[in-house]
């Protein structure tokens, strides 16, 4: 489903190279965990997948369902089913959350040639999805993410993911800033979306999240490259020995 080939990417503004020859393949139905120390390029990878303009791909390719997505803007990628759950979801004053959800869902439906949702159908979906995440509907009347706690913002991200039904989910440090109860709710939300047709890339600094979202594969990112891949036991090994051993091995 996702094939990253020898990817090089840099910050557009100052030319700093962050991703330096990254290779990664994630199959349909697979949950791949990306782990790595601070500054290894984890968040940059998530932004490059989503198509953020602040980064430039200088070499290599990203294939999604066998086709390069490098020329697509973020909206086009999203319409094709790529979803990024942000590490720090943005607060957007003046845009009501409900209005935003409706516009986003219908924009993707339109891009796929589907009819817009009727209001009752839309409300039914939002109610069901927010209930699963123990979210209060009153919260959704507020401007997008404005005044939400860290946990509420992450839940709002998972809510969007549920409603938009993407095929490739990229979760950027979804565990950061969450207490254990919020983490469980968010992890349950993610697990409920696991399906044979859907791939997930779970980016995390700590192994803790992977106790709740058990990955099929684990990849260690260091200095913009995947330096080691393995199964879920690799995460446990990292938890025990830290990154130093693996980094030493690779060097």
């Amino acid at each position: 489903m996702l094939e990253i080939r020898n990817l090089h990417a840099r910050i557009a503004e100052d030319g700093t190279e962050i991703i330096r020859g990254l290779n990664l393949t994630v199959n349909k139905g697979e949950v791949a965990a990306i782990m790595g120390p601070n500054g290894s390029g984890k968040s940059t990878l998530s932004y490059v997948l989503a198509g953020r303009e602040d980064y430039e791909v200088t070499e290599g390719d990203i294939l999604y369902d066998g086709e390069s997505i490098l020329d697509l803007d973020p909206a086009e990628r999203a319409a094709k089913g790529i979803f990024l759950a942000f590490q720090y979801p943005m607060e957007i004053p003046g845009v009501a959350t409900m209005e935003f959800l409706k516009v986003a869902m219908n924009a993707q439906r339109k891009a796929r040639g589907e009819e817009p949702l009727s209001i009752p159908d839309f409300l039914k979906r939002v109610k069901a999805a927010s209930g699963d995440l123990s979210m209060d509907m009153a919260m959704l009347k507020r401007p997008l993410n404005v005044g939400f706690s860290g946990g509420e913002k992450k839940r709002a991200e998972i809510l969007q993911m549920k409603l938009l039904e993407p095929k490739l989910c990229v979760l950027d440090e979804t565990d950061s800033g969450l207490d254990i109860d919020a983490l469980k709710i968010v992890a349950d939300g993610v697990n409920a979306l696991r399906s044979p047709d859907r791939a997930m890339v779970v980016i995390t600094h700590y192994q803790r999240l992977l106790e709740y979202i058990v990955p099929d594969s684990v990849h260690v990112l260091y200095r913009g490259q995947v330096i080691k891949s393995g199964d879920k036991n690799l995460a446990l090994e990292l938890e025990e020995n830290g990154y130093a051993g693996i980094i030493g091995e690779a060097a």
Partner: protein, 423 residues
């Protein structure tokens, strides 16, 4: 009046002076009113204000007002549906009030054409100063409007809309309102029309002790050639609340003045404004606020969206008089500049003669936040739509502060209309 060498009149000034000569015999007014009219046209004859006049520095009226249409008695202006559903509507059509008006319990309605001749109105026509061009032009030509007297303690169960609808030519109206002590009202001042008109409109409003008034100015003149000169003057009593919202969404040349005097202790004044600017237009909102007594509060927030070759101005002057201790005043003007050819000038002024006060102001000019844009696009919202959402959000925030759901929905409806026409 200042003695200056009389300048050579511009075509617009000449048209105004000529129009006065032609209209004079048709204008209603007792002796004292007619004296005020004569004084006012003399002021016009000394020349409209230029950028050398401080309060007109960013709106050089003499240069910007290139032509003035003649009165058109035959122009057919039609009443429009009110902004707020269920409003009692009082329409001034092509400068004329109607004999048959809505009935609102607790409100006495008088036609200004009648007030002008009953011996009471002349003091209200006194200009605010030698730079009061809007007041002078209006005093010279004002023919009609409505005077609303809201009785003490009356809480209006429905909003009132005062609508001034032009269909070309000239219209000059007054919309005075007295809100009795302890009364509560929501009033929409609607300024709209279909022609290349020259419009002046003055509203003198007194807000009695303990009264609450929300006054919404919705100005949507056509962009092509309409000139709109508005003036809102208010005096706020003890423990009274005045909320003024102004939305400029049209007009070729617009000046909206807001002059407020906080005369009673414990009074609060809130100004929220939105300027939606497009095309080759010039829009000016100028506020002067006097905190004249202790313990008064005010906040002013103006948001501007500038597109095309539009130019905008906000001047906000807060005077805190010597005895007005414990004044709390905050003013902000934020502009979203969406075009390289557009411009916006902001002039905040604080003049403080008391020593125990809190006053602040801030002004920003920004573009669309790229992080916000990325977030929306990452959810599949295409760029144009995402930009539209963010621009609307920037101004909608100010509307949402009005809290009343019916008002918020109605004003957002006006926003949507503007964005649909200018998106």
């Amino acid at each position: 009046m200042n003695i200056h060498a009389v300048p050579q009149l511009t075509p617009a000034e000449t048209a105004l002076v000529d129009a006065f000569g032609e209209r004079l015999s048709l204008l209603p007014g007792d002796g004292a009113v007619m004296v005020k009219r004569d004084d006012a046209i003399e002021q016009v004859k000394t020349g409209l204000p230029t950028k050398r006049v401080e309060s007109w520095h960013y709106t050089d009226l003499r240069r910007l007002l290139t032509s003035v249409p003649a009165f058109d008695e035959t122009a057919k202006a039609e009443a429009v549906a009110p902004v707020l559903e269920g409003s009692a509507v009082f329409s001034v059509l092509n400068g004329r009030s109607s004999e048959k008006t809505a009935k609102v319990e607790g409100v006495t309605v008088t036609r200004v054409a009648d007030k002008l001749t009953d011996g009471s109105f002349a003091p209200a026509l006194e200009p605010r100063g030698s730079d009061d061009a809007v007041g002078a032009l209006n005093t010279a030509f004002v023919a009609d409007g409505y005077f609303l007297d809201i009785a003490e303690g009356v809480e209006l169960s429905q909003p009132i809309e005062l609508q001034n609808v032009q269909a070309g030519g000239q219209t000059h109206v007054r919309l005075p309102v007295r809100v009795g002590n302890g009364a509560k009202a929501v009033i929409v001042e609607r300024q709209t029309g279909t022609g290349d008109a020259f419009v002046s409109s003055v509203a003198n409003v007194t807000v009695g002790d303990g009264a609450e008034l929300t006054w919404l100015i919705v100005q949507e003149q056509p962009d092509a050639a309409a000139t709109h000169l508005g003036q809102f003057n208010a005096w706020i009593g003890k423990d009274a609340k005045l909320v003024v919202f102004v939305m400029n969404a049209g007009g070729k040349l617009v000046r909206q003045e807001i002059n407020v005097a906080a005369k009673g202790e414990g009074s609060t004044f809130t100004l929220r404004g939105i300027n939606l600017l497009a095309g080759d237009t010039h829009t000016d909102v100028t506020m002067v606020l006097d905190h004249a007594v202790p313990h008064t509060e005010s906040t002013e927030v103006i948001r501007n969206v500038v597109t095309g070759k539009a130019r905008g101005v906000f001047q906000g002057r807060i005077n805190v008089h010597q005895y007005a201790q414990k004044t709390d005043a905050k003013m902000a003007c934020n502009t979203l500049l969406l075009s390289d050819d557009g411009e916006f000038s902001t002039k905040p002024e604080l003049e403080i003669f008391a020593d125990d006060v809190q006053c602040g102001h801030g002004a920003t000019v920004t573009e669309i936040d790229r992080n916000h844009l990325f977030y929306l696009m990452a959810r599949g919202i295409e760029e144009k739509t995402a930009r539209g959402l963010l621009v609307k959000a920037f101004v909608a925030e100010v509307i949402e502060e009005l809290e009343d759901e019916a008002i918020v929905d109605a004003l957002e409806g006006r926003l949507d209309k503007w964005f649909a026409e200018h998106g």
